[in-house]
């Protein structure tokens, strides 16, 4: 059972206090999108063995959504950050690279 820190209210809580929301940083495909782009938006998800970006909801806390950068293999949490961003913040990239020097964000 993971332990996560909500970047909004600052609480470090049990996994049961949060609700997972799948992969973070998806780009919404709305009207006008091709069938392929829309399919990928709806159904195609990364499932990496290693660094992963996830959405979490502080369901039984402040109610805010945030993102977590986490290693799916070692369960290390590199950091959590606001969900109101389209890009991975610089300080999160630094935190990951300090632990995984070879890791690069996907283009």
């Amino acid at each position: 059972m993971l332990r996560l820190t909500c970047p909004y209210c600052g609480v470090t809580g049990e996994e049961t206090e949060f609700h997972p929301g799948g992969e973070a940083h998806l780009t919404r495909s709305g009207p006008g999108a091709t069938d392929e782009a829309f399919r990928d938006y709806l159904f195609q998800r990364r499932n990496p063995r290693g660094v992963h970006f996830e959405r979490w909801h502080h369901q039984y806390g402040c109610g805010k959504w945030f993102h977590a950068a986490r290693c799916t293999l070692t369960l290390e949490v590199f950091g959590t950050y606001t969900a109101q961003t389209a890009v991975i913040p610089e300080h999160i990239i630094d935190a990951i690279q300090s632990r995984r020097p070879d890791w690069r964000p996907e283009a």
Binding site: S29, G30, P31, D35, F38, W65, C71, L75
Partner: protein
């Protein structure tokens, strides 16, 4: 025969006799006994029957690893099966019964299974399932049902109380033997907050049986000094009878505490809880869980009286009980000589020590020889003679095929195949193992621990659990673990010299996986690897021959290490036999997965307080008491309870429902609609946001007006509906389904926070802040007007309008909306006024003949009007167009959730299942809910399903049955007659009709 010896037994109090029953017979033991030691002390060697062959079985071990002596304890509301006699503490009045026997423990017909054991090979269950169906039904199943199973399920509700307990520790130490005590002391001295837990009632572990010299003191002196120091440290807490059950992500640990099982005066459900499930977070976990002795695989190693060598000396040292008067020792290592020496010193006979090795020259063998014990080198056991108890052993050469050299009469056998560290807790969360060739066991690989939130290892091992089996190695390993745990958390541990522990030096063991090495099939098929699941050497070999090469497959095929054993006694021996059969090595084969809990924990402890009304808290409307006092038949609706109908004296439920409908349509009815979801959406961008959330255009709604709205998922499927009210330019009230309020509110927040965060919008779920009452029927206006305070005339409040004001002095919002097709008002008042308004409506409505109506009347009336119900007409694969709700899907809006999906080819297919009405040919016949319509044949030649019934009722208004269904291409099949085969004899025929059965023009609601 097993018996109580004159002296010894440090854990028992011979002045306090305890009486208990075993299979109904009255027996006695002493305070401090376990059930197993008391049974042995009473001469009861036979303690159960094995799972598959019903072979007689006795106790093998003295602790939590015990596979055989499983008992049903207690009776009625306190009965619990599968309890280990070795860990059950004796108390006055304890009632125990053995398991898997039929009709009795000493005469068991199931033993016939053993005679037929060639027909019960590895994979028996899988092979049996392949047999003809009739054989299964008439032969296998009745026999298996009668004979199989570990214990009986309780038949009464558990009378005890249970609870969860949350705890935090810097360092959690699991196991309080020498290593755990020392590790806790090191971390505690450094200032860390330490929790030390021990599954047994006693601190000290193996030191209680095996004396060791520590810093020139006896281990007893060291124990008292160490425990006293730990108890004096304010930052250290020690808990006994608390087992570390499971280790999970990021230092989460479950502990299982047994608080009352050892008490004779515990009243079930009385003062305290019986068990506690500890939910612990620890930054570092030190597993000081010790090691487990391995059995040896020789023919007859399961005959009652054959036990693990260390367990035998534990019974002598701790309980003053011996398994027999003449004990043969069989071993591949020096440690088992301790048992020979202990027995001899207790005045018991040890006719021979059979040592598989070619030499035994260490101090322990020397001591044994000095005591006059015969030692035979290079020898093993060919077979154990005896059925329900050991009578003799036949000795053979370990290197040979089992030719009998000599028969030695005896009544007990102590076996030792070496020791394996208890790696379960290390492994639960991903700690890796390494094969230790010298000691022939898997031990934790300190370089590959489970990792925590910071990427650092959070589990350390101490002492024998690390593989440091010998006391001289155990102590420094424990010191290092305790200090490292503290240091990693920023504490400064002591760097003083560690204590020195001295015990007799030991020579290396010889790996022995089969005895003798060249055992015949006959011997191998009586050599058990897993006592509990009756898995023999020959079974694992057969599995390997049949191609089950992966250890995980072989485990499931043979059932090796399943059930409560979970890779304890059977583990390494089974892996070794599998490796040998496959011509590979044990590390190549690897281990199966270790899963929590370490030993089974009670279901009660898992449930904790979440039982009965606390299992799921019930949401109640402000008028709940009134409903309850006025005949409500309750129906669960999401987390709420709502009146299904209000039953009157002498009425059947359907009669009550029909009465409520007739009265509402003909007169006036009131419905408690408080459970409807209510979400306020407010802010400068509220309208823009709702245009994205709903399929309809909401921005065009005028303040003070209501509109029925639909919500889709991004997949284009309908997921909730309800009336949206524009309270002000920048403020909307969104009604949702009763079950959907939390979901819809969370959905809105998710989109606001994660996609459209630039919108200036706030949401609030105010569902429980308001009571809501629907006043419905031709006299609805008359009733509300009698309350006074608001203009609710046709002109004052038109259909789909909203008014705010005071109704009989109560602040109210009135919505003129209808889910029944009648003249209808929904009145929302602050929740605290809900009951007052309800009472007023009942009082003022009495002369008008007002009646409350329940959810069933609501459902029938909406179906008469062809209104859909989320969850009836929708199932997560239905679009608005499928339900002929295309009019509520905006074509003007550029975007809304689900818009892109609704353009997908599959969602615009003309032959999708579409909503239709159904009129059965016989108006009295009501279609069963969910009945399938069939036409033609499918690809397998069976009838093809073309749709199903979604709502079906008897309509008292129309005096006939009505139904709605989703039918392929239904929109264009008006007038067709469909067939619904509802059982093998009956086909119900129904005609497709318009789903609006009543008042199609909508004249009744707009008056």
């Amino acid at each position: 025969m097993s018996t109580r010896i004159k002296s010894g037994g440090r854990l028992i109090d011979r002045t306090r006799k305890v009486s208990f029953t075993f299979n109904g017979s009255r027996l006695s033991g002493f305070s401090g006994d376990t059930l197993a030691s008391a049974l042995l002390g009473s001469g009861q060697t036979l303690m159960g029957r094995s799972f598959k062959y019903h072979r007689p079985r006795g106790v093998v071990g003295a602790g939590s690893e015990e596979p055989n002596a499983l008992m049903g304890l207690g009776q009625g509301p306190t009965f619990e099966p599968n309890q280990r006699a070795t860990t059950a503490e004796l108390h006055d009045g304890l009632q125990a019964e053995s398991q898997n026997h039929w009709p009795s423990l000493s005469i068991d017909v199931g033993v016939v299974n053993a005679a037929l054991s060639r027909f019960f090979p590895a994979g028996f269950y899988y092979k049996t399932f392949m047999a003809p169906r009739a054989a299964w039904k008439h032969v296998f199943e009745p026999v298996i049902r009668k004979t199989a199973g570990l214990g009986k399920a309780p038949t009464e509700a558990d009378a005890d109380r249970y609870e969860h307990f949350y705890a935090y520790a810097d360092v959690l130490v699991i196991g309080a033997g020498m290593a755990g005590l020392q590790a806790a002391l090191e971390a505690g001295r450094a200032g860390a907050r330490v929790l030390l837990v021990e599954q047994t009632p006693h601190l000290g572990g193996r030191l209680l049986s095996d004396e060791v010299e520590i810093d020139e003191e006896t281990s007893d002196a060291w124990l008292s000094r160490t425990i006293a120091e730990l108890q004096a440290l304010p930052n250290v807490e020690i808990r006994t009878r608390l087992m570390g059950a499971g280790v999970y992500d990021h230092g989460y640990v479950t502990g299982y505490e047994r608080l009352t099982d050892h008490m004779s005066d515990h009243m079930p459900g009385g003062e305290g809880p019986r068990h506690r499930l500890w939910r612990i977070r620890a930054d570092r976990i030190v597993t000081a869980t010790g090691a487990m002795e391995r059995p040896l695989a020789f023919a007859g190693n399961d005959v009652p009286g054959v036990m693990l060598a260390a367990a035998l000396r534990d019974y002598v040292a701790l309980y003053g009980v011996t398994a027999g008067d003449r004990t043969v020792i069989v071993t591949n290592n020096d440690d088992a000589y301790r048992t020979a020496i202990a027995l001899k010193r207790a005045g018991l006979e040890v006719p021979v020590i059979l040592d598989t090795r070619d030499a035994a020259i260490g101090p322990l063998p020397r001591q044994a020889r000095d005591l006059g014990i015969r030692v035979e080198l290079g020898k093993g056991i060919a077979t154990v003679k005896g059925g329900k108890k050991v009578e003799a052993v036949e000795i053979c050469s370990q290197a040979g095929e089992g030719s009998v050299l000599e028969t030695i009469p005896c009544d007990a056998v102590a076996m030792s195949g070496g020791w394996s560290p208890v790696v379960h807790l290390w492994s639960h969360c991903g700690g890796k193992l390494v094969w230790d060739t010298d000691q022939s066991h898997f031990r934790p690989d300190p370089d590959r621990p489970p990792t925590g939130h910071d990427g650092a290892g959070f589990v350390l091992t101490a002492g024998a659990a690390s593989g440091a089996l010998h006391a001289a190695d155990t102590m420094p390993d424990a010191v290092a673990a305790g200090r490292r745990a503290a240091r990693e958390l920023g504490f400064t541990p002591s760097d003083t010299t560690a204590p020195t522990a001295n015990a007799e030096a030991e020579e290396p063991l010889q790996p022995v996986w089969m005895m003798p090495a060249g055992a015949s099939y006959k011997l191998r098929s009586k050599a058990f690897l897993d006592f509990q699941n009756d898995v023999k050497v020959s079974d694992v070999q057969l599995a390997a021959r049949e191609g089950f090469e992966s250890v995980e497959h072989a485990k499931r095929y043979t059932t090796l290490g399943m059930a409560t054993d979970q890779g304890k006694l059977s583990n390494i021996n089974g892996l070794a036999v599998l490796a040998d059969s496959l011509g590979t090595t044990i590390p190549q084969v690897g281990t199966t997965t270790f899963r929590p809990p370490y030993t089974p924990i009670s279901m009660g402890s898992i449930a904790g307080a979440a039982r009965g009304p606390l299992f799921k808290p019930l949401r109640k409307s402000p008028m709940d008491d009134w409903h309850d006092a006025n005949g409500a038949v309750w129906e669960p609706v999401a987390d709420w309870r709502r009146p299904y109908t209000y039953l009157r004296e002498g009425e059947a439920q359907h009669e009550a429902v029909h009465r409520e409908i007739r009265n509402t349509r003909g007169n006036v009815g009131v419905l408690d609609a408080s459970t409807l979801g209510k979400i306020v959406v407010q802010g400068p961008d509220a309208a823009k946001f709702l245009d994205l959330i709903y399929t309809n255009m909401m921005s065009s709604l005028k303040p003070g007006r209501c509109r029925y709205g639909l919500m889709c998922t991004e997949n284009g499927f309908l997921f909730d509906d309800g009336v949206v009210v524009r309270l002000a330019e920048d403020k909307f009230l969104c009604h949702t389904t009763s079950g959907g309020s939390d979901r819809v509110h969370a959905w809105m927040e998710e989109w606001l926070q994660t996609e459209w965060w630039a919108l200036d919008v706030y949401t609030a779920n105010v569902t429980e802040q308001y009571a809501q009452i629907a006043v419905v029927g031709p006299k609805a206006r008359q009733l509300l007007e009698s309350l006074g305070g608001m203009d609710l005339s046709r002109e004052g409040l038109s259909f789909m309008g909203m008014a705010e004001g005071d109704l009989a002095g109560i602040p109210a919002r009135v919505f003129r909306i209808s889910f029944s097709g009648e003249l209808s008002y929904e009145v929302a008042v602050p929740a605290c006024y809900g009951r007052a308004l309800w009472d007023l409506l009942m009082q003022h409505g009495a002369p008008l003949g007002v009646m409350p109506y329940g959810t069933e009347a609501l459902h029938v009336m909406r179906a008469e009007k062809g209104f859909i119900m989320i969850g009836d007409e929708t199932d997560g694969t239905v679009t608005p167009h499928d339900l002929a709700l295309g009019w509520a899907v905006s074509k003007k809006k550029q975007d809304f959730i689900g818009k892109r999906a609704l353009e997908r080819p599959d969602l615009i297919r003309p032959d999708r299942k579409q909503l239709v009405g159904l009129a059965t040919q016989d108006p009295a016949t009501v279609l069963p809910d969910g009945a399938h319509a069939v036409a033609g044949s499918n690809e397998y030649g069976g009838p093809k399903t073309i749709g199903h019934v979604t709502s079906t009722y008897y309509s008292p208004t129309l005096d006939r049955s009505i139904a709605m269904a989703l039918i392929e291409g239904g929109a264009n099949r008006m007038g067709e007659v469909l067939e619904f085969p509802v059982d093998s004899q009956t086909v119900i025929r129904a005609t497709i009709v318009d789903p609006v059965f009543y008042d199609k023009a909508g004249e009744r609601q707009d008056v």
